[in-house]
Amino acid sequence: MPADPIRRRLLLAAPALLLSGCKVFDRLPRDGGLRDVLESANTLTDLTLGNLADGHLAPEYTRADIRQPMRPNGVTSPPDEDYLRHLASGWADWRLTVEGAVERPLALSLPELMARPSRTQITRHDCVEGWSCIAEWTGVPLSRLLSEAGLRPEARFVVFRCMDTIERGLSGNVLYWESLALRDALHPQTILAYGINGGALPVPNGAPLRLRVERQLGYKMPKYLRGIEVVADLPGQGGYWEERGYDWYAGI
C-alpha cells in the first residue's frame, strides 16, 4: 500500500477527474461531431435488430398474463378543442384519413374501421423508460388499409398524425406524430387498435384509435390518430421524440 501522500492524493483524485470528464456528455448538441459518432452505432443497431426480427412475430401471451389495466403514458387527456369535440360527439364526425402516395385516398369512420376484418393480440408493451405491461389489443391491420388505398411505387414510409398536443412552444403547439418504414407498417401485428382487453379503447390509452407496432418501443405507437400519410421521404427526424434525440428505429 503506498504511504506516499502525493501518490495517495493522485489516486484519490483520479476518480474525481474521471467523473468530471463525463461532463463532456452534458453538452452533446443534437448535431455535434461527438453525437454523430455515437449515433452512428444506432445505424448498426437498427440494421442488426431490424434484420434479425424480419419475418418474425413478437411474442404473444395468454389472457392469464393480463394482470392489470394498461398503464397509460405520455399525453393521457388531450386538451385540444378538436379532440374534445370529437370525444363529446362519440366520434360521429371523426374520420381516419389515408392519403399521400396512394392510389385511392380513404376517409374512414370508426364503424367503418370496426366493420373490417380485425386482429386481436395479447402483447407486451415496452416503454423506453424501462417498464412493460401486457394487454389484449383489437384493431384493423394497417396492411389491410394500405392495400385498400393502394401504395404507389414511390411509397417508402408511413407518417402518423395525431390529435393531441404534447408540447406548447413559443412557435406554437406541437402535435404528436410518428412514422414507420413500410416493412414495419405491413407487419401482420401492426394494427390500428380501437379495442383493449375486450372493451373500447379509453381516452388515456389513445381513443378512438392508436397504433400498435409490437417489435418496437412505446413511443413508436402514437395515440389519438387522425391521419395516415404515405410518403417517399421521411419528414424531419420522423417523429416527436426522434426530434428530441431518440432513435427512429425503436427496436431496443
Binding site: 503506498p2 456528455f25 452533446l28 435488430l49 394482470r67 416503454c127 405491461c133 417489435r215 431518440y246 427496436g251
Partner: protein, 282 residues
Amino acid sequence: MDIERTGRGPLVYRQNVWTRLTHWIWAVALFLLLLSGLQIFNAHPALYIGEQSGFAFDNAVLVIGAEPHEAGPLEPRGEPPPPAVGTVTLFGQRFEATGLLGWSGGEARAFPSWATIPSYQDLATGRVVHLFFAWVLVATLLLWLLASTLNGHLREVIPGWRDLRALSGDIADHARLRLHYRRRYSVLQKLSYFGVLFLLLPGMVLTGLCMSPSFNAAAPWLLDVFGGRQTARTLHFVEMVLLVLFVVVHILMALLAGPLNELRSIVTGWYRLSPGEDPDAR
C-alpha cells in the same frame, strides 16, 4: 529470451499487446456503460420479476423513490419546500438513503447526478452513449476471444483441476495478503477473470438484448431462458453490481499487490516476479 534478470526477481513479458489493449478499452467502455446505464435506470427506477412491471400488483424487487418529509408545522411563505427523503425498497424492506439514492441535489433522482451520463435527466442521450459502448464492448469481447485463442492467453484464464486443488491454499494466502508474483495467474485470479469474461460480460450482452422487443421477436426462447423481459432487466442490474464489485476488488488487489508493477504489466506488458520464481513456468 526477453527476460532481464535482476536482484529483485525476474522481469518477464507477461501481458501481450491484445490483452493490454482490450483491457483498457473495456476499462473505458464499462465505465461509460455504467454511468449511462444508471441514467437509463433513473427513467424508471424499479426492478421486477417476470415479463411485466406490476402497477396493479406487486412483483417489484427493488424500488428507488422519494417521499416528502413527514408532515411537520407549515413552512412560512417563501421558504423553499422541505427536502424529501430518498428511499430504497429492496424485497419489501424500506431503507432511507437521502443524498445518495432517491433524492439528491435537491431533486428526486434514483442515482445522483455525479453517477449518471449526462449529469442531468436525459434518457435519449444516455441511450445513445449506452448503445454505442455496448457495441464497443461486444467488438472488444470478440477481438479478445480471437486474439487469446491464437496467442494462448485463453488457456491462462481457464481454471483447470490443478488450479482448483490449490483453491483453499490460495484463499488462505490472499486472506493473509501473502501475494505471489508468478508467471501464472493464481486460481482466484483465474476464477474471477473467467467469471467476468465468460459469464458476466456475455450475460450483460444477452440480458441487454433480451430487453429489445425486436430481439424478442427474433429469439423468443431467450425470454424463457431469463424468465421474462423484466427479470432480464433485473439480472442486467444485478450483473452490473457484480461487475462493479469485481472492478473494486480488482483495483484494490492491484493497489495491495504493488500498483507500479501491476500497472506496468498492463501498460507495457512487463511484470516483475517474486525472487526465485521461474520466468518460464506457465
